[in-house]
Symmetry: C3
Subunit: 343 residues, 3 copies
């Protein structure tokens, strides 16, 4: 495909070399002849000099470069769109595999692609264009919207509901029992039946082996457009606001309420029973107890304002030195006081 | 069901409105007419004023309320029991699905419910009333007690043993090889055959996608009544004492020994080869090296006494200020010392 | 088997009791008559006095013991090798189960052992002696080398490639979509097609329920001989160097580059887009931002030199006391200054 053609499809500006033939997309360091690459992270601007790519997508803030280039206000988005131009179609064969096990009363929309060994329980409803890979298990009365993709080994438990265009990576468990046990006098526990469900709204994507527990009563909710990475834990009765992003291995204890557009770093933990304001940012490995204001940016465990935290962690390494300096001051103080007592 | 009827079944006291008709259970904020709700966490007492529930379960410590109420010494337990009264039965159809693959020499007790695509290996034994959902895999010689529920995609590896009334959520791996590799001179590793097994005692529940490794020799043990949340890692040769509770994403490195009634918060890590005393409490995200006394309450990474830790983390944010104050004191000290040298 | 026979097979020295009959291997505390045990961790040397084992494998640094013993320069390795002598063979029956679903154009090497409900997609290639347990799913064009063992519920996504002698524990996902989303002006996200793949080199072992994401472009690589524990997350475009070891629940954000022989503790997090030098060591629960020099040993979150970190965390518990001491010094300073103003 010619670079100028790509530019037209992406709505980018060609600054030079529109005739260049592009055969595939590649990262800046791996790219070779025939590759289109990109820079959106400032860290990689210096790599432009050494790349062997035939062309590059850049923001308007990067100075002129010696190779054919496209300019975009959002080079990362343009790169993502260009990837689609070269990617092979992924959709598996249409139809329902003869070794799929579908309850007779399940309702399945038009144009499904349901693989071998998929189990669809009684009373399930599935919208149009569903892609269910092998070993997907829908428990009774699960409901999926249109254009849903469930990769292999995904579980949707009883009564849970997924909206449209939801993509679920392999091994995800949606609607497992919440971790609810009432302590008894004798030190043992009574299991609390988890009678609620999980609701995943439209355009959500969920990463591999993530687990989302059903609520004891009511709903655990993943809001429209939210993105969850791999191995994330969402406790029962929690909700993730629209277009929020949760990185890998983060965990929300029960009844954590994330607002809209919240950004959660990897391995973050929320203590539960708390409200996190819209657009809050929690950096990786932080532990959040209590509520956060909208727009708050926090770090640390327990977490507090990131600016303050940065200064505190810088000082942290100096703790042994600080102890020494305090001891030294105390000794000098003693000496001064002793001197002053002298006649 | 009438409120008075519920009270009788739960052994609660009706303080008012025994004739109220209850149709379902609900959380205090979601409840509407016909709902029974509860308050056990003090944080939610103020919500009683605004709930639209028709009745509420309360402890004896909460003052009189304007809606029909039940009183219980353990309102959380009463709520859990009330949930059972309204919950639909979950048990799948009895019988063995024709697409289950059961070794001819496997022994299966009375009244099984074994779904499609369940694999039961040679020499396995399964007690009465077993529920095995689709895609459960029992490796050879696995043994299950009575009334066991294995949700879909659960794996029980060779020789592992589960007691009675064990509930395992989806995707759990019991008996994967422990992470054991002997370093060789040349910087490579020799895999140590994990010849031991995992033993899960009676009344244990295990959360989705949790992994419990088999021991190299001997056993990894989850004690009677213990509860493990989702995405927990139990390393080889570890043991979790009876009625201990381990929250999501916590990890026990090899040969961690938890006592009875231990409470482990989310994302906690144990370094391994250590003994944790009965009833110890480790708060979320802590990292525990070395042993803990019975009843110890610890926090932080590395973890120490929670009371001390709370004061330390409060001081932590003041570190940059402390540095400044020390520098200031040092300057004043210099000035005083300089002055004193003057004649 | 006679102790002397074992010694010969392992290339160990018998210091005494070569005629002792050994029936099985056991840990030092669980061992009984007929057992061979070992000590390689100094922590357990004191247990030699009380063990009931019939014989023991020791390093040359441990003083003489009253029971039959073997001596080895690497007692842990000798123990691992001895385990093989007593372990039962694990390999499942050869052949392809009639309920396996294999694409007609898939290429399968000699002597396969492919269980029930295995799905092998179109265009896959599998080397000799492959062991694929039930519910393994190979997406189209996946490729496996010789002598690969994939435990049940393992997923290898489209185009991913595994070398020879790779062992993958249950529930592992290789090649799930990387967590890549380009932010749009309106606060929503555009999914970036993950067109790259995962390459697992020879002799790698991967622990249960670990997830390894495919790259957006290019490759995510696990180098030869590397060992990953359970529930590890490897982000897209990352690479793990040869013979590196990553403990459970650690996470590598996208484009983390680990060198050769790196050791990563449990629950460690890497921020991504960084290079970690050969043989670096990162202790458990650390959080690493930025690059690390070869041989660096770091701890903490954010991580820095372990020696300094140890002193800092020791001082950490003294923070409240330090605050008090600073306040006290300030008061004394005030008093001195006030005094000096007096005529």
């Amino acid at each position: 495909m010619k670079l100028s053609e790509i530019a037209e499809k992406l709505g980018c500006e060609v600054t030079s070399g529109g005739e260049t033939e592009i055969h595939r997309m590649a990262g800046i360091d791996e790219a070779g002849p025939g590759c289109l690459t990109f820079v959106s992270n400032r860290k990689y601007v210096s790599h432009i000099k050494t790349t062997r790519a035939s062309a590059i997508i850049l923001g308007y803030d990067v100075p002129e470069v010696p190779i054919p280039s496209l300019r975009s206000a959002n080079p990362y988005l343009a790169f993502a769109q260009a990837l689609e131009l070269f990617a092979e179609p992924l959709r598996p064969e249409p139809g329902i595999h003869p070794m799929a096990i579908i309850a007779p009363d399940a309702s399945i929309g038009l144009n499904p692609s349901i693989g071998a060994c998929v189990v669809v329980g009684t009373g399930c409803t599935i919208g149009s264009n569903a892609v269910l890979y092998p070993f997907v298990m829908l428990y009774p009365k699960a409901a999926l919207g249109d254009d849903v993709v469930l990769h292999s080994h995904v579980v949707v438990r009883e009564h849970c509901r997924l909206g449209s265009r939801v993509i679920v990576q392999n091994g995800v468990v949606i609607g497992s029992d919440g971790f609810g046990f009432a302590p008894k006098e004798d030190g043992t526990y009574y299991k609390i039946r988890q009678t609620g469900r999980v609701v995943i709204e439209d355009d959500v994507e969920i990463g591999a082996n993530t687990t989302i527990d059903r609520a004891a009563v009511g709903e655990t909710v993943i809001g429209r457009g939210a993105k969850l990475d791999n191995l994330v834990q969402v406790g029962h009765g929690s909700s993730v606001g629209d277009h929020s992003v949760v990185a890998a291995q983060a965990g929300l204890a029960g009844s954590t309420q994330l607002g809209r557009g919240v950004k959660v770093g990897g391995q973050v933990g929320f203590a539960g029973h708390q409200a996190i304001g819209d657009a809050a940012v929690v950096t990786a490995q932080s532990g959040v107890h209590g509520d956060l204001e909208p727009g708050a940016v926090v770090s640390g465990s327990p977490a507090f304002d990131t600016g303050t935290w940065r200064r505190a962690v810088t000082a942290f390494a100096k703790l042994p030195e600080m102890l020494r300096r305090i001891s030294c001051l105390e000794k000098e103080m003693e000496r001064i006081k002793a001197d002053r007592k002298k006649p």
